[in-house]
């Protein structure tokens, strides 16, 4: 069975190398790419089936020794336990579906082979990340994923803005990764090993001891690890790259910016949950960040007019939910929401892709109206996706989000709970608004060709998953039977707290319907007059994702550019060139003494002798 585990990450890697070096024709690339991913998906499912009954299992396979100096010894060992099994299944299944989808979506693109090579490389890096047994191997997967997202966002490299978006994504995630690297190194000095399991064991022992040892170093490590997670999963300080990352092809956004890469941060925190338990204030900070991001994402999604940017902001807010769940200590709720979110967000993105595909690359939602009749399938899939997003009852989104809200309540965090509820309200509002604008109202642009069959199949499967995904995998809860979950069994939810999350989505959807009928959802035209109304300013503020871009440009980019531009000719080099000019100046001065007059020379000779003798006499 361990060989299967070993094969899962290596298969996409082999196919990626094959595609890079061999660059076969279209059909062959599709077969290799989709084949390898679906094979590893199959392997993952097989593993699932075999390990379904065992509650607690650990599978380890070593692919080779990486480096061992003094007491730092790292190896390429893969570690499988219920958490990483779930992650592997999500990644490989969603990945396989998206590969199938993009096989037809990208078939008329000239360098398809490069696209599939990057996609395969991405999936293998993600699998290494999830299956890593030590933090440096995790970091290897982490950076590999960052690299592939950079390559895929900037896939259509001809437009300048695509490669700029790719640069922005890579640099912002790189900031998070460097913070994480510092955290890893500090962890190495704290626990003397980088093996994740040993760190968890040592932190559990530390937890048993009543007096907690040097907590501020451990909390610093946790904070830095969270910074890395925030970078990768686009949380508040480092989230401005995700909306711009929509410049890449839609399947890329579906796979990377909805299902897999952005969840790496959550996996990191979930995997090191015992370590984070040692730093309760960091967990609280994570929860706060989660809520802030959740509200930011939801409100900004309201003001967007581009279909994919709305979905990007909604991903940010759903990730905020997951971090909220992690912050209150229930990793299982977070991972469960991660799973459901992966399915319905992938569905939303892929149907959006199909929509754009048949509206021949029109992405502004106000230009697509009344597509209910011309695209019934897309309307249906979009409907299910939006329902799951808005967490209408009986959809998978409902179960996971409601679980998160319940966990926040159990963890005695009423304030955060209210934040979550407000977020849920806004989420329901913008998803309903999106659905109504795109599929109801008058038809102003006919959709030409309908979606190919491959895409339809994928959409069907994803619809099924996002509906039935609500059933919680049995293994998940036993893995995380961490004490925090059952912290306060006695505390029961008050009636109001129990029913509000159930009724809220239905109420907001009807509210949205009325607003749509009244025509509140018209695009706010920017007024020419100097006096920009408050509504205008608010809309602009939300449109740019709470203006983080302008803030960063002001604080970091402008001074950095100013200093580097000023210092282009290297002040130090200038100093050495001054040396040169000084010596030529000196030459010109001394030159004036050589007049060429013979009598001057002899006179100066005599004067010198006179002075010398005088000095001799004085001594």
């Amino acid at each position: 069975m361990t060989i299967l585990l070993g094969l899962i990450p290596l298969l996409p890697l082999f196919s990626a190398c094959l595609l890079i070096f061999w660059q076969p024709k279209l059909l062959l690339t599709q077969i290799i790419a989709v084949g390898s991913i679906s094979l590893s998906a199959l392997l993952a499912l097989i593993l699932n089936v075999q390990l379904w009954d065992q509650a607690q299992f650990v599978l380890q396979v070593s692919l080779g020794q990486w480096l061992s100096i003094d007491n730092l010894s790292l190896g390429f060992t893969l570690y499988l336990d219920p958490l990483s099994l779930i992650m592997v299944t999500i990644i490989t299944c969603v990945g396989a579906l998206i590969h199938l989808y993009s096989a037809s979506y990208m078939k008329d693109d000239p360098d398809v082979c490069r696209f599939f090579a990057y996609l395969n490389l991405f999936v293998s890096a993600m699998l290494f990340l999830v299956l890593a047994d030590n933090l440096i191997l995790l970091y290897l997967g982490w950076e590999g994923v960052g690299l592939c997202s950079y390559l895929l966002i900037g896939f259509w490299y001809r437009e300048q803005k695509n490669s700029q978006a790719a640069n922005k994504a890579f640099i912002i995630t790189r900031i998070g990764d460097t913070a994480m690297l510092i955290g890893i190194i500090l962890l190495f000095y704290q626990f003397d090993t980088l093996n994740i399991q040993q760190i968890q064991l040592q932190s559990q022992q530390l937890l048993q001891m009543d007096e907690l040892p040097t907590t501020e170093i451990i909390s610093l490590c946790c904070l830095l690890l969270f910074a890395g997670a925030a970078g990768k999963s686009a949380q508040v300080p480092l989230q401005s790259w995700l909306p711009d990352a929509m410049a890449g092809p839609t399947p890329v956004s579906a796979l990377i910016h909805a299902a897999t890469m952005v969840t790496a941060g959550i996996y990191l925190v979930a995997r090191n949950m015992d370590l984070f338990q040692l730093a309760p204030d960091v967990l609280h900070f994570i929860a706060i960040i989660g809520v802030v991001t959740l509200i930011l994402g939801a409100t900004s999604a309201l003001a967007q007019s581009d279909l994919k940017r709305i979905l990007a902001y909604s991903t940010i807010s759903q990730l905020g939910y997951m971090f909220l769940a992690l912050g209150v200590g229930s990793a299982s709720a977070a991972v469960f929401h991660l799973m459901t979110h992966a399915f319905f967000k992938a569905l939303l993105f892929l149907s959006a892709g199909a929509l754009i595909y048949c509206m021949h690359h029109e992405q502004n939602i106000f230009k697509m109206g009344g597509l209910r009749k011309s695209q019934p399938l897309l309307a249906f899939s979009f409907g299910i996706g939006c329902a799951a997003l808005a967490s209408l009852p009986m959809t998978s989104g409902f179960f996971s989000k409601e679980l998160i809200l319940e966990q926040t309540l159990l963890a005695h965090q009423p304030l955060l709970w209210w934040g979550g509820v407000i977020g849920a309200f806004f989420t329901a509002l913008y998803s309903a608004k999106l659905f109504f604008i795109v599929f109801f109202g008058k038809l102003n642009q006919p959709s030409t060709h309908n979606t190919p069959t491959a895409m339809v199949i994928v959409l069907m499967i994803l619809m099924l998953l996002s509906l039935v995904g609500g059933v919680q995998p049995q293994g998940l809860f036993t893995h995380f039977s961490a004490p925090a979950d059952s912290a306060s069994p006695g505390h029961t939810l008050s009636l109001f707290q129990h029913w509000l999350p159930i009724l809220l989505p239905i109420f907001t959807v009807t509210l949205a319907w009325f607003m749509f009928i009244k025509g509140y959802f018209t695009p706010t035209t920017p007024s020419e007059g100097s006096s920009v109304s408050l509504k205008q300013k608010l809309h602009q503020f939300l449109l740019s994702g709470w203006d983080f871009d302008r803030l960063y440009r002001l604080i970091f980019i402008k001074p950095f550019k100013l200093v580097t531009e000023y210092n282009r000719r290297d002040i130090i080099d200038l100093a050495y060139r001054q040396l040169e000019t000084f010596s030529s100046l000196l030459y010109r001065q001394l030159n004036r003494f050589q007049t060429g007059q013979l009598r001057h020379y002899s006179a100066s000779l005599v004067i010198f002798c006179v002075l010398a003798i005088a000095w001799g006499l004085i001594q």
Partner: protein
């Protein structure tokens, strides 16, 4: 008695030196210089080194000064160059060098006065013959100092290298002088008057 002779020759020497320096006419200067050299030769004689005196007269006054006379003869334009000379040098605009020279004399005298309080005096040849015997022993059998014989022995004894160097020096000076003074075609012919030189140049341009 020797003291008196020395004093006279010294004064003659100084006056003639001063005159050579301040003379306007080149030939006068030369002649004054010759008299100075002869006076110095006499002083050498007084010191009791006849060989040096003879050499001074023969080589220095005789050969070197004659060389000077030849060159002045070649370059002297007669009256014109005397007039030029007046323009080139006049005592009133030579204040600076005069001042310098006097300071220098004063300093040199101050130096010479200090260490020599022990007024040793130079003894003419005959008086010192007795002390010479003792120190002549270490030197190889020089019969008596300052005689040409002992000079020659020394010259070709310990100092033979010096002789070779002097010879080399003279030889190189000879070659250098010949080479420098050689008349190359593009030079104007020094003994032609200015009009003839233009004529020569025109011819040269014609036939080249």
């Amino acid at each position: 008695m020797i003291e008196a002779i020395f004093m006279i020759t010294a004064i003659v020497c100084l006056i003639s030196a001063l005159l050579t320096v301040t003379a306007h006419n080149a030939v006068h200067a030369l002649l004054y210089l010759v008299t100075m050299m002869i006076a110095i030769a006499l002083i050498f004689f007084l010191f009791g080194s006849p060989f040096a005196a003879a050499l001074q007269i023969i080589v220095y006054a005789g050969a070197v000064m004659v060389l000077f006379v030849f060159v002045t003869m070649m370059l002297h334009q007669g009256e014109k160059s005397n007039l030029d000379e007046k323009a080139l040098f006049s005592l009133k605009n030579a204040k600076g060098p005069l001042l310098l020279a006097t300071i220098l004399i004063a300093e040199l005298l101050m130096i010479s006065v200090q260490p020599l309080e022990m007024n040793s005096s130079l003894v003419p040849l005959s008086a010192i013959s007795n002390e010479a015997e003792q120190d002549s022993a270490q030197r190889d059998n020089t019969s008596q100092p300052n005689s040409v014989k002992s000079l020659a022995i020394q010259l070709y004894g310990p100092y033979r290298l010096l002789v070779i160097i002097a010879a080399m020096l003279l030889l190189s000076a000879l070659i250098a002088a010949i080479h420098i003074a050689r008349k190359t075609p593009k030079h104007v012919d020094v003994d032609l008057s200015p009009e003839e030189t233009q004529l020569a140049n025109k011819q040269q341009k014609a036939n080249s």
